[in-house]
Symmetry: C2
Subunit: 480 residues, 2 copies
């Protein structure tokens, strides 16, 4: 099996092994001491911080206020909403002892916070004037999984979870779609991922939701990754936790609630959508370093080069470019080039004595055409921001092209099985749960979503030939 200079397997040989090695060797994550747990290292956490800052602003614009709810929730709270308990019970981590004693009632570590937030909403909401109530929290959650994969599925992960309560069903539903728009834009504009937004089929809904919407991203192995979800919960949680208000007409009524969340999983999506055999490829808008300068300091002009590199870095930083100088004396320039390619840095600047004499630096882009070209040092701070913008666009275009090349309309079972081996199938479906289960059992493919922007289409189910149910084709794919 081929491996690159850093010992990373090639994607086409073993995509899964490639992923596991890249996220570790690029310093995004590490395994924690307890089974299935993850350390997010500074290089990975910085990507998350950049996503967070953007998303936090958008959620606040939507009218949500940040808050924080307790992580430990009485076990009985999970038994109050019938579907919720069924969905989450197998994944709960339970605290039975604390402060040296056995607890009278075990406490569950939140796998999600609908229950505890529902309980507090019941306390805070009394009148229609208290609505809408829109809350968001940035928090860790724990879901005990049999198998883990760094960033995609770990026993603990970080996310944002928003929870709202409305008088009107229509307003609650509107919010789930506005949140879906925010997620779609975040994936597109920050992560350069052309996700497909759409609604989940009944079998794939969040436990307790009436409608679940998702953004689905295509990885470079053709699989889908659910990258964020939004839910309309109807009055299920309102009834379970007695979240009622007095209407303007002095009647008692239950609120309509929603929730929506996006997690550190999106960092894993960025790796699997853009990475290549050399390692990560990071979209500039989420790259911890957008530019790395490698000074070539062999020879007697070492200090002059170091000085010029530091000077250029300062000028780039002043122009708003996240820039790092790799001044490690013990490593060769060649080693550093490979290292920063592994780390997915969009632009590398090579700077040696002859470059300085010529007033230029060699700019090397991580992907694309004319990847290597000299630019003048003087003009770098004005030119590089537009090179980064182009790079961001190129990545999105490349990912869009890849997604479209690996998505096919299929109208017979053979075409379906062939297509989902390497990509996504757009197929008609009867909407029957048993038929979904059959497809999954035979192919491991599941309905990822009923795409928001899918063209109208009706006909016969791809599997059972019953009449199609959704008035459009469903995205089927194998998924993480």
């Amino acid at each position: 099996m081929g491996r690159n200079e850093r010992g990373v397997p090639r994607q086409e040989d073993d995509f899964s092994a490639w992923y596991n090695e890249v996220v570790a060797k690029a310093g995004l994550v590490d395994r924690g001491p307890a089974k299935g747990t993850m350390v997010i290292r500074p290089y990975g956490y910085r990507i998350w911080e950049l996503l967070q800052a953007e998303l936090d602003g958008k959620i606040k614009e939507l009218g949500h206020e940040n808050a924080y709810f307790p992580m430990l929730i009485p076990e009985n709270y999970f038994n109050r909403e019938a579907e919720h308990v069924e969905g989450f019970n197998p994944e709960l981590a339970v605290v039975t002892h604390a402060g040296g004693k056995e607890l009278a009632e075990p406490l569950v570590i939140r796998p999600t916070s609908e229950t505890v937030i529902g309980d507090m909403m019941a306390k805070w909401i009394t009148s229609h004037r208290d609505l809408p109530l829109r809350l968001n929290q940035w928090a860790n959650v724990v879901r005990w999984e049999l198998r883990s994969r760094m960033l995609l599925r770990t026993n603990e992960f970080l996310w944002q979870e928003a929870h709202s309560a409305y008088v009107e069903k229509s307003d609650a539903l509107r919010e789930t779609l506005l949140a879906l728009d925010i997620y779609t834009a975040l994936a597109r504009d920050m992560a350069a991922i052309p996700v497909v937004p759409g609604e989940k089929t009944a079998g794939e809904r969040f436990a307790g939701a009436l409608n679940t919407y998702t953004i689905e991203a295509m990885m470079r192995d053709g699989k889908a990754l659910q990258s964020a979800t939004t839910h309309y919960l109807g009055d299920n949680f309102a009834r379970a936790f007695n979240i009622r208000y007095t209407t303007a007409e002095e009647q008692q009524a239950f609120v309509h609630t929603t929730s929506f969340g996006l997690s550190t999983r999106l960092v894993g999506a960025i790796v699997m959508v853009h990475g290549d055999d050399k390692g990560l490829v990071l979209p500039p808008r989420v790259a911890p370093y957008q530019v790395v300068i490698v000074p070539i300091t062999s020879g007697n002009k070492a200090s002059e080069v170091e000085h010029a590199a530091a000077d250029l870095a300062r000028r780039l930083q002043a122009a708003g470019v996240r820039t790092h100088v790799d001044a490690r004396p013990q490593l060769t320039p060649g080693w550093k080039y490979n290292d920063w390619e592994l780390h997915g840095v969009p632009i590398r600047l090579e700077l040696g004595p002859r470059d300085i004499d010529a007033g230029t630096t060699v700019m090397v882009k991580r992907i694309g055409e004319k990847v290597k070209q000299p630019i003048t040092i003087a003009a770098a701070p004005t030119e590089i921001p537009s090179v980064l913008d182009e790079f961001q666009c190129d990545l999105l275009q490349r990912a869009t092209q890849f997604r479209d090349d690996h998505t096919a309309l299929v109208d017979n079972w053979d075409a379906f099985t062939t297509t989902i081996a390497t990509g996504w199938a757009l197929a008609l479906h009867c909407g029957n749960q048993e038929c979904e289960d059959n497809i999954k059992a035979e192919t491991t493919a599941t309905p990822r979503c009923i795409p928001q922007h899918g063209a109208p289409a009706t006909g016969r189910c791809i599997r059972c030939y019953a009449p199609s149910a959704y008035d459009k084709r469903v995205v089927f794919a194998r998924a993480y």
Copy 2:
């Protein structure tokens, strides 16, 4: 017992009851469903976010990178450092079941992360070139306490914990002092709290530390609140977790580690340092709303007033002032005045039809002299920022005056017991643990710190008359 318009007791009648009611009624926090847990509501969380944003920048300037470590830690990790286990064992919350099964080894919810971070440092550090390693995380921690008090002592709280490893002891020690400077400045410049920085005596050190530094704040009942701490851990954790590196001379050596943390407790300190019988008093730099405009809309000019209020709010916001318009139609202006006083908003602007005709608005400051004065609407966006700056200074001065008025040099036991009933005693002490314990048993006062800027002083111990140990006076106080 006297109560204000919102039913809050007076401070002098029952400071503790005043605190409990104010933090709840001002919407900072609420009790969570599980014993001793806390919900941080949006109004309280916003204060934390403002502190966070400032502190995060300062910690990054110090050279730390943010990361995230698993919350669940194998139980045996806590047994590796002798003092650490003794200090934290009584407070641990333990997960024994997960995913429907009993775990082979119980997992502890982090009360602090020295152990898991130590374990990862051992993996990441091999050479002196990997040092210093400076990490920080924003996280929740769980410490099971018998008695809880919102924001000050709850079973779960939020904090920032930084952890570093150094080659040189001197560099590690320097960092603990730089971090102490950052905390001192944060408390002073953001929270308007004139904390006293200093070193803890041996009996008050963090479990596993060789040196612990603290910032101590004086509450309005004269008690002290430890508001953040920094620790030099020597090679205790390096030995316990085998954090070694190869020196430039190819020798193996243990690193010197540090840690420092500041929590949501600081929000509680702000309440107890500045609040009064009307409720909270918030320093402008941490106030969610720096200005609240109350439109007086009775009569036939209601829409004109609402329009003017919205317009003024926009202009203040454009000038960088966090401004809110209280447009609730069901409440009277008088009710709103009390409400925003309870919420501690620094400046209220009252705006009625006659004010608009005169081109003025009535500015009411939450504390100080000339609290009520008209200002011209046109000039408000230029004038109010300096009024807020003055307000911030006034609060710091008032708190400094209070602290100094309630701090006394004491040289005999009677003066000591009298002083610590209402404030802080600066006293000589022998440094003997048994003597500290005696003082605590008799008075509940403990040595809060050996103040960094204390004047040199030697003599006899205030309690046992043995020679004094620290070359300066120690701050003794009752504490939260």
